[in-house]
C-alpha cells in the first residue's frame, strides 16, 4: 500500500469537533492531518445558524479559556448577539449569537489552513488500521495509507448517513454531502460498538417571500458580551434581526392529515432522535393539547436570502412541508429554498471511551463530537478540543487533561458520556451540572486558563489578561474585607450622596456589598478601593452577593473531590472484589471507571458498593500494590 505520509495525529472529519481537534494538536506541536470529505465544507453548520445559549454558550467560553477556536471564530463571524436569562442568576445567563454561516466556515477554514503543523486534505477515510491493539493509521478511499501515532474520529453525522424526506430516502451526509459508507464496517471489525441515531433540520425559505408585517421582530442586544476572553469591545455587531411567528390549527391539521406519510411515525426512521429538538410532527404527537408552537425565522448570513425556520424541523414529504408552512402568519407566500429532512447516522457507544476520549480497548484511537452520540456544534467543539489535547499529550508523553465536573461543563459532558452513555443525541443543559453556581460563563477563564496553560494552548496574551483579571479581583476582595465603615454622619452622607442607604452599625465593606442594590463600582470611588476592569468588578459583585450559596456548593465539591482523586487501577478485576452486588460488578466491569467518584455515578452502583470498592482498594494498597493517588 502506498504510504502517503506519517503524522503524529490524524483527525477524521473537519466539522466543529474535527477543526478544534486538528488545531489543538497542531498548536501543541504535533504534525497533524485534518481529513475532510470536502474542502468547501470545513466547520459546516448544516442545521441552525446559532451558537451558544444556556450551557452551550458556557461550553464555548470554556473552549475559549482553554485556548480553543470556537469563541474567537463566532465573535468574528456572528451577526446578532443576545444575552439570555438576564432576569435569572449569573450562573445561567448565557450568550447566544446568530452566525453568518458561510463566514463562519470560511474563517475557520482560513485559520486551519494557516496553522503551522496542520495539513488539511480532502480525503474520504474508509479504514482505520490497528496493529497490536494500537492505532497505526488510516486508509483513504483512493487507496493510500497515512500513518499516525494517534487518530481522532470526528465523523459527525456522516457515518452511513441516510437522509429521509417523506418517501424519498438516500445515502448522504447532511446538505447533500457524501456519506462515509465504509468506515462503520472498519470500526466494527476493530470491535467498536455502534448505535444508530437520528436528527433533523427544518426547511430554509427565501427571505424575500416573507411578510414581515405579520412577524414579531427579535432584535439583538448591543451591550451583549463576546464569547472569547480575547475579544475586545466591538461595535455594530448586530447586523440582522430575527423574527417570531406561531403555528395554528390549520398547520396542525395539515400535518396530522399526513401523519401516515411521516417517516418518524410510520417506521421508516429507525434511529433514535433527541427529545429536545423534536420535529414538528413529534411535537404534535407528543403534545396534542398545545394549540400553537412558536417558530423563529433566522437569516443564515449577510450574503444569502436563505432564512432558517427554527422550530419546524421535519421529515414530512416536500409537498406537505410547503403546505403547512403556508398556513403560518407571515409565511403564507414563502418560497422554500431547501426542504427539511431527517438524517440517520452511526455513532459509537461513548462508554467505550476513557475520560480522555481515547478508546479503552484501542490505544491512540480517540473519538469526539456527534460520533460520540452528542448533538450540537458546541458539544462537538468541546470534545474535539479535549480529544486534540489528549491525543497530543499521548504523542508527546505529557499528562492527559481530564476536567472534573466541578471544573466545567466540559467535565460534565465527557463524564456523562463515558459514565452513563446516552440513548439519544446528548445535548448539554445547565440542569445536568450539579455545581451550576460555580460553572458560570463569566468565570470560565478563572476556572480553566490554568489548565490550558499547563497543556500549552494558552498564548502569552491570554495568560497576561487572565493574570491581570485575577490580580484585580483579589486586590478588590482584600480591600473589601479590610475596609470597615462606621455609622458616622460623614459616612452616611457620603453613601446618601451616591444614592445608597445608610449603615447603622460598624460594617465591613464586604458585607455592605452583599446588599442587592449595591455594586462594586458604587463603592470604589467612595472608599478609594482599587480601580479594576468592569469584568473583574462583575466577578467581585457575584462572589460577594452569592457568597453563601457559592461557599455551600464549594463544600460539596471538596467533599466529592476525595472520591474523584481516588483512582482505580486500570487492570482491576471486579470478579475478585468480594461483597459487590452482581449488578454493580457487571456495570463496573463495563464502564471501568477511572475513579471512585466516577464509579458512584454509574446507574446501578450504590454508595455502599463504592464503600466496598474503597475498602478493597485500600486493602490491595496495603498488601503492597501501590494505589495511584492523583495530585489535583
Amino acid at each position: 500500500m502506498f504510504n502517503a505520509g506519517d503524522y503524529d495525529v490524524i483527525v477524521i472529519g473537519a466539522g466543529h469537533a474535527g477543526a478544534e481537534a486538528g488545531l489543538a494538536a497542531a498548536r501543541l506541536g504535533c504534525r497533524t492531518l485534518l481529513a475532510t470529505l470536502s474542502m468547501d465544507n470545513i466547520a459546516l453548520m448544516p442545521c441552525n445558524p446559532s451558537v451558544g445559549g444556556p450551557a452551550k454558550g458556557h461550553l464555548v467560553r470554556e473552549v475559549d479559556a482553554l485556548g480553543g477556536e470556537m469563541g474567537l471564530n463566532a465573535d468574528r463571524t456572528c451577526i446578532q448577539f443576545r444575552l439570555l436569562n438576564t432576569g435569572k442568576g449569573p450562573a445561567v445567563q448565557a450568550l447566544r449569537a446568530q452566525a453568518d454561516k458561510k463566514r463562519y466556515q470560511f474563517t475557520m477554514k482560513e485559520t486551519c489552513e494557516n496553522q503551522d503543523n496542520l495539513d488539511v486534505k480532502q480525503l474520504l477515510i474508509d479504514d482505520i488500521v490497528i496493529e497490536d491493539g494500537r492505532v497505526a493509521g488510516v486508509v483513504a478511499e483512493t487507496g493510500e495509507f497515512y500513518g499516525a501515532k494517534a487518530v481522532i474520529l470526528a465523523t459527525g453525522t456522516y457515518l452511513r448517513g441516510r437522509v429521509i424526506v417523506g418517501e424519498t430516502v438516500y445515502d448522504s451526509g447532511p446538505n447533500g454531502q457524501r456519506a462515509a459508507m465504509k468506515l462503520s464496517d472498519s470500526l466494527r471489525r476493530a470491535g467498536v460498538r455502534l448505535m444508530r441515531f437520528k436528527t433533523g433540520t427544518p426547511a430554509r425559505v427565501d427571505g424575500r417571500s416573507l411578510d414581515y408585517d405579520k412577524l414579531i421582530e427579535q432584535p439583538g442586544e448591543d451591550d451583549a458580551p463576546s464569547f472569547s476572553f480575547l475579544t475586545d469591545e466591538v461595535t455594530r455587531r448586530n447586523r440582522v434581526v430575527c423574527w417570531l411567528s406561531y403555528t395554528n390549527e390549520k398547520t396542525h391539521k395539515i400535518i396530522m392529515d399526513n401523519i401516515d406519510r411521516a417517516p418518524m411515525a410510520n417506521g421508516v426512521i429507525k434511529g433514535i432522535g433527541p427529545r429536545y429538538c423534536p420535529s414538528i410532527e413529534s411535537k404534535l404527537l407528543r403534545f396534542p393539547d398545545k394549540d400553537r408552537h412558536q417558530l423563529f425565522l433566522e437569516p443564515e448570513g449577510l450574503h444569502t436570502r436563505e432564512v432558517y425556520v427554527q422550530g419546524m424541523s421535519t421529515s414530512l414529504p416536500a409537498d406537505v412541508q410547503i403546505a403547512f408552512l403556508h398556513t403560518i402568519p407571515g409565511l403564507e407566500h414563502c418560497r422554500v429554498m431547501r426542504a427539511g429532512y431527517a438524517i440517520e447516522y452511526d455513532c459509537i457507544d461513548p462508554r467505550q471511551l476513557n475520560p480522555t476520549l481515547e478508546f479503552k480497548a484501542i490505544g491512540g484511537f480517540f473519538s469526539a463530537g456527534q460520533s460520540n452520540g452528542t448533538s450540537g456544534y458546541e458539544e462537538a467543539a468541546a470534545q474535539g478540543l479535549m480529544a486534540g489535547i489528549n491525543a497530543a499529550m499521548l504523542v508527546k508523553g505529557g499528562e492527559p487533561l481530564v476536567l472534573k465536573r466541578s471544573d466545567g461543563y466540559i467535565g460534565v459532558l465527557i463524564d456523562d458520556l463515558v459514565t452513563k452513555g446516552t440513548n439519544e443525541p446528548y445535548r448539554m443543559m445547565t440542569s445536568r451540572a450539579e455545581y451550576r453556581l460555580l460553572l458560570r460563563q463569566d468565570n470560565a477563564d478563572l476556572r480553566l486558563t490554568d489548565y490550558g496553560r499547563r497543556v500549552g494552548l494558552v498564548t502569552e496574551e491570554r495568560w497576561r489578561r487572565y493574570q491581570q483579571k485575577k490580580a484585580q479581583i483579589e486586590s478588590a476582595l482584600t480591600a473589601l474585607e479590610e475596609t470597615v465603615i462606621s455609622p458616622s454622619r460623614e459616612t452616611n452622607e457620603k453613601l446618601a450622596a451616591a444614592g445608597l442607604s445608610p449603615v447603622h452599625v460598624v460594617t465591613r465593606l464586604f458585607d455592605f456589598l452583599r446588599r442587592p442594590d449595591v455594586a462594586y463600582r458604587d463603592l470604589q470611588p467612595l472608599f478609594g478601593l482599587p480601580e479594576i476592569s468592569a469584568e473583574a468588578a462583575r466577578q467581585v459583585d457575584i462572589t460577594v452577593t452569592y457568597d453563601g450559596y457559592i461557599r455551600k456548593q464549594q463544600e460539596q465539591v471538596d467533599r466529592q473531590e476525595k472520591l474523584e482523586n481516588r483512582l482505580i487501577p486500570e487492570d482491576i478485576d471486579y470478579q475478585a472484589v468480594p461483597s459487590l452486588r452482581d449488578e454493580a460488578r457487571e456495570k463496573l466491569a463495563t464502564v471501568r471507571p477511572r475513579s471512585l467518584g466516577q464509579a458512584g455515578r454509574i446507574s446501578g452502583v450504590s454508595p455502599a458498593d463504592v464503600s466496598v470498592l474503597m475498602v478493597y482498594l485500600e486493602r490491595q494498597r496495603r498488601a503492597g500494590r501501590p494505589a495511584k493517588e492523583e495530585t489535583p
Binding site: K88, G89, T430, R436, S579, E618
Partner: protein, 460 residues
C-alpha cells in the same frame, strides 16, 4: 488530614442502665458536641486538649437538661477514626441516649451507618489488614440492608405520601429547570408566589409527619411488631405470653382470631406494640379474608415481624407465604410448641433463610421467651453488628432525612421571599427532593431531565 463530615451514633451495647456513650467523629465533632453539651466549669469543648474530659450536662436547645454527662475529647489523629472524636458519656440508657443522639443530629451531625466508624478507622490507616475483612462484611451487609425494602416506619407506612411530595417537588423543579434551560421556548414562567404557597403546604405536612416520627416517640409509643403465622400456630399464645395476661381468644380452632389486636408489652424497657393478626392462609370465609388482608398490612407497616412456624406440624405451602412476608422486614423466626415432638427439621428453614434470627419457643414451658426478649432488645438498640440494620436507627435515620428535607424547603422559601432567581430556588428544592428520595429508597437518576421533556414541549 482532611476529615469527613461528622457522624454520630450510640456506641455502647444495648441494654438499660450503666453508662451509655454517644460518639461523634468528623470535621465538626467538637462544635456539634459543644452545641449539646454544657460544661459545669467555664470554657468550651473546643478549647480542650486531646484526651481531656469535662463534666457537665446534655442540654436541649430549649434549655431542658437531658442528662448529666462527661465529654471526652480526642483530637485528630489521636482517636479510633483518626478524626476529631468526642464521646458523650451519659448516665441514662434508652430514651436519654436516644435524645442525646437526636440532639447531635439536630446540631449538624449525620447518623452513622453501621460500621462507619470502623470504616473510617480503616481507611485512615488505623486498623490492620486482618481487620479489613471484617470491615468488608459490615459494609456489604449495609448493601443488602439498603436494597431491602426500607424497613423503617416512615418508608413503610408513609411511602405513598412521601412519593406524592416528591412528585409535587419534581414537577416544580422540572418547570423551573425548563424555564432556565429553554428561555426562548414558549413555556410560561413559574408563578413563584403560587409555588411558595405550595411549598408551605408541603412543609406543614412534612412537619406533621416528623412529629409522629420523632425519635423519642418510638420509646414513648413503642415499636410496632407484627406476629404472623398460619392459623393456630400460636400467635395469640405468644401475644399473651408477652403480655403475661389472657387477652386474645385462644382456641384450637383455626381462624379463631378474627381481628388484629394491638397491645403494648414491655420488653427490656422497650414498649413493643404487638399486633396479633389473623392467620395468613387462603380462605373463602369472608370475615377471615379481611383478617388475612389485615395481617399482610400489619406486617407491611410493622418495623419488626415475628414469624411463627408450628414446630409440631409439617411445613405447609402457607408457611412459604409467611416467610415471603417476613423476609421483606426485620424479622425473627420462631418455631413454636417446642414442648411437643418436632414434626420437621428446623434446619430446613434455617438453611433457606440463613441470615435470619431463629428461636425455638414454647409458651407452655416458657422455653425461648427470655431469648426472644433479648433478641428484640438487641434489634432495637442494634449496635454495629454486621447485618443488623437496626429498626430503631432506621426510624431515626428517616426522621433525620425528613428534617433535612424540611430545612431545604425552608431555604427554598427563603430564596423565593428574598427575590432570588429560579436557579437558586431550585438548588434547595433539589436537595429536598433527594432527601425524600433517600427515605423511600429511590435513587437520583435522569428523573429531572426526563420530567422536563415529559411536561414541556421544548426545542427548536
Amino acid at each position: 488530614m482532611r476529615q469527613e463530615e461528622t457522624i454520630s451514633a450510640i456506641a455502647t451495647p444495648p441494654g438499660v442502665g450503666g453508662i451509655g456513650i454517644v460518639r461523634l467523629s468528623g470535621e465538626t465533632a467538637l462544635s456539634v458536641a459543644a452545641a449539646v453539651f454544657r460544661p459545669k466549669r467555664k470554657g468550651t469543648l473546643s478549647d480542650m486538649k486531646t484526651y481531656e474530659a469535662a463534666y457537665g450536662h446534655i442540654v436541649a436547645p430549649d434549655g431542658e437538661t437531658i442528662d448529666e454527662a462527661i465529654a471526652l475529647v480526642m483530637r485528630s489523629p489521636h482517636s479510633y477514626t483518626m478524626e476529631d472524636v468526642v464521646e458523650l458519656q451519659c448516665h441514662g440508657g434508652g430514651l436519654v441516649l436516644q435524645k442525646a443522639l437526636s440532639l447531635t443530629l439536630a446540631a449538624g451531625a449525620r447518623l452513622a451507618q453501621p460500621g462507619e466508624f470502623t470504616k473510617r478507622a480503616f481507611l485512615n490507616g488505623r486498623l490492620d489488614l486482618a481487620e479489613a475483612g471484617a470491615v468488608m462484611e459490615v459494609v456489604s451487609a449495609r448493601t443488602g440492608a439498603a436494597l431491602r425494602a426500607a424497613s423503617g416506619r416512615l418508608a413503610g407506612r408513609f411511602s405513598g405520601r412521601i412519593r406524592d411530595w416528591r412528585q409535587a417537588l419534581l414537577a416544580l423543579i422540572a418547570h423551573l429547570e425548563a424555564v432556565i434551560d429553554f428561555p426562548e421556548d414558549d413555556i410560561g414562567n413559574v408563578a413563584l408566589k403560587e409555588a411558595e404557597r405550595r411549598l408551605c403546604q408541603l412543609a406543614a405536612e412534612m412537619e406533621r409527619l416528623l412529629r409522629t416520627a420523632d425519635a423519642g416517640r418510638v420509646l414513648r409509643e413503642g415499636l410496632l411488631a407484627a406476629i404472623i403465622g398460619r392459623p393456630n400456630v400460636g400467635k395469640s399464645s405468644l401475644l399473651n405470653a408477652l403480655l403475661r395476661e389472657e387477652r386474645a381468644i385462644v382456641t384450637d380452632i383455626p381462624g379463631t382470631t378474627r381481628d388484629s389486636i394491638e397491645e403494648i408489652a414491655s420488653i427490656g424497657g422497650i414498649p413493643l406494640r404487638v399486633v396479633d393478626t389473623a392467620g395468613i392462609r387462603d380462605t373463602d370465609d369472608v370475615v377471615e379474608r379481611i383478617g388475612v388482608e389485615r395481617a399482610r398490612q400489619a406486617a407491611a407497616q410493622a418495623a419488626l415481624v415475628l414469624a411463627l412456624f408450628d414446630g409440631s406440624r409439617p411445613l405447609s405451602p402457607e408457611d412459604e407465604a409467611i416467610w415471603e412476608i417476613a423476609r421483606e422486614k426485620d424479622h425473627i423466626l420462631l418455631f413454636t410448641k417446642s414442648d411437643l415432638p418436632a414434626a420437621f427439621a428446623e434446619e430446613e428453614i434455617r438453611r433457606r433463610m440463613p441470615d435470619s434470627d431463629a428461636l425455638r419457643l414454647s409458651t407452655k414451658t416458657g422455653e425461648g421467651m427470655e431469648a426472644l426478649s433479648q433478641r428484640i432488645v438487641a434489634k432495637v438498640y442494634g449496635g454495629e453488628r454486621p447485618g443488623d440494620e437496626s429498626l430503631f436507627l432506621a426510624d431515626v435515620r428517616e426522621a433525620d432525612l425528613l428534617r433535612q428535607a424540611l430545612a431545604s424547603l425552608a431555604a427554598a422559601r427563603e430564596a423565593i421571599e428574598s427575590g432570588l432567581a429560579e436557579d437558586f430556588i431550585v438548588i434547595d428544592l433539589r436537595a429536598a427532593w433527594e432527601k425524600l428520595g433517600e427515605i423511600v429508597g429511590e435513587t437520583v437518576g435522569e428523573d429531572i431531565i426526563d420530567e422536563i421533556f415529559r411536561r414541556f414541549c421544548l426545542g427548536k
